[in-house]
Assembly symmetry: C2
Homo-oligomer: 345 residues x 2
């Protein structure tokens, strides 16, 4: 088995200090506003991120390309507080400090406390309908980083905010942008070149259909799933090269507005990622029986001449890709489906 | 993409002539009996054959290991005839000469006609219950080759019969043996070293459970599926090495009667083969929704401490692997399931 791992040359704290520079530290208090606000969309990868070469800095084995979904995401308010522990409110519910979500958020916030005793109040709302089956960790960490930037008045560039969001959740680095974004794999062991940038174009006719199969808890979280794949999946050895080729192909398809190429590459890339998951030991299968039924329905539609493709993340739901002209056929075939038009005016 | 293809240094006819030697040709008539009979079992690959390096001689990219299922297979009677075209009777139904099955059989028989005008009568019975969801082409070509050997009185060694059966259907070369068999990949471009041999051991407690999901026609035949995988699946580049390692591991597990190793390697190998299928373009998915439900059931049983694994061929059905002591738990969990004990006395 190939070893894809790289050692980090910076600790997460040293990384953060590098990125936010002199603006951190105790004097951060004097510059801080009373409240910071951040808002970010969820994003769907068109060519996937699967596998870390370094886990403490969330450095990916391969780059990825995504599209953000306007109107679906996270809004976060942040304030400094004098309590004993962070107060985290999620969708109007105050979380227990030892809840998994609260602990993960607090661990991330540890990187940004001006002093050891700094306590945060976080009030966060996901505008993702739970029924859409979309992960909110990407929009969540992107919104939180924007709220930190606002609170502490760092005025960091979006590239730098993308670097910070990456530490919370890899794919969060892509949620700093509307529209298309590309997360560069980067080469450096300090992780300072692994961030996302916007792909500066729109595609007014592009539609995303959210096909919900299941909203239950994942059997295997993405981080654990990735790690198991990298460590036990023989087929994964061929993944990094495919992923980089797919990334270039998706990028070209976006720039040329070549929908067939976009759809084919995105679906092939997603199926290949899921292939690496199920070829691990023990097998990781995020699909439900209904996922297979939905795939078969997509393929059948395609055979009938409807240009529709799908992508899937580490879960059982399908995200359909099609152009506006196919919307009636898609709505008719799938009935209950949320259609997002990322570039609609 | 790597190129796995090799050129054949013999035509199929030259290959057959080499294998059966001087016993072929016009004088074959004088030695022939009035009827030949052959009988062979179906086999289930524990490490899979997926991908041909040469298609005219059915030379595999990787070796494989199988177990034959006694009592399930094909019985074939063969006679020479003076008709205009081969008469092929399958399960008591006379086939139209242009039926796909009849055409494929006749093309195979072309390799064995003592003269251009030799016509065969084939009467073949599959003792595989259709409901079991087992492919009968492996047992079919093995039985046919045995019937040819009997009819023409070649008295070929089983190795040589295995070479001949391979031309009809790759996996047929493994159906010449009861119990475990290993199909050596071979290296030669004439294909004369790519045949199956028995693994000379028994495993009295080993059980195979046939879990039927669907018996409909396959969307994509194995030959086409393999070819598409070899040509378009990037992940397939890592398959040959995994396949050879899995083969060695399965072989060792059989010799050591290490059931956990057998089950784990067989399931991982099958999942990896299916992974290469779905990572082709367009994707090939032999699974049905019910296949996923059945897999989930197997994994759940395993979590409950029942040592059960599965393998799957190019179709939606699961073949369960377990030891006799787990039979009650398996029967209880799956209800309608055919259990085969390949080594039961």
């Amino acid at each position: 088995m190939k070893d894809f791992s790289q050692s980090a040359s910076l600790s997460p704290q040293a990384f953060v200090n590098q990125v936010i520079g002199h603006r951190s530290g105790v004097n951060a208090f004097s510059q801080a506003k009373s409240r910071g606000f951040g808002e970010a969309p969820v994003n769907i990868a068109l060519s996937k991120y699967w596998g870390k070469r370094e886990t403490s800095l969330n450095l990916p084995i391969n780059g990825s390309v995504s599209i953000s979904l306007p109107g679906l995401g996270t809004q976060t308010e942040l304030a400094l507080s004098e309590g004993k522990h962070d107060q985290i409110v999620l969708n109007d519910h105050t979380l227990e400090p030892h809840a998994a979500f609260a602990q993960r958020l607090s661990r991330f916030l540890n990187l940004f406390r001006p002093t050891e005793h700094t306590i945060f109040q976080v009030d966060t709302h996901n505008t993702v309908p739970t029924a859409a089956g979309l992960a909110s960790s990407a929009s969540g960490y992107a919104a939180l980083v924007l709220a930190l930037d606002d609170l502490f008045q760092w005025q960091l560039s979006t590239d730098k905010l993308s670097l910070l969001a990456r530490l919370g959740s890899g794919s969060a680095c892509r949620s700093l942008y509307p529209g298309f974004a590309i997360w560069h794999r980067g080469e450096r062991s300090d992780g300072l070149d692994s961030y996302a940038e916007a792909i500066d174009t729109t595609w007014p006719d592009l539609c995303i259909g959210l096909l919900k199969v299941d909203i239950g808890e994942k059997a295997v979280g993405s981080t654990v799933g990735m790690q198991q794949t990298v460590e036990t999946c023989e087929l994964y050895q061929a993944w990094p090269e495919q992923a980089e080729n797919d990334l270039k192909s998706i990028q070209a398809a976006i720039l040329e507005q070549d929908f067939e190429r976009l759809g084919q590459t995105a679906e092939h890339n997603a199926m290949s990622m899921h292939a690496t998951m199920m070829a691990t030991w023990p097998p990781i299968l995020y699909w439900q029986p209904e996922s297979v039924a939905a795939m078969q329905q997509v393929w059948q539609l395609r055979q009938q001449g409807v240009a529709v493709y799908f992508t899937m993340d580490a879960g059982p739901n399908l995200k359909l890709l099609f152009l506006k002209q196919e919307k009636p056929a898609i709505m008719q075939a799938f009935g209950k489906i949320d259609v997002i038009e990322p570039f609609a005016i």
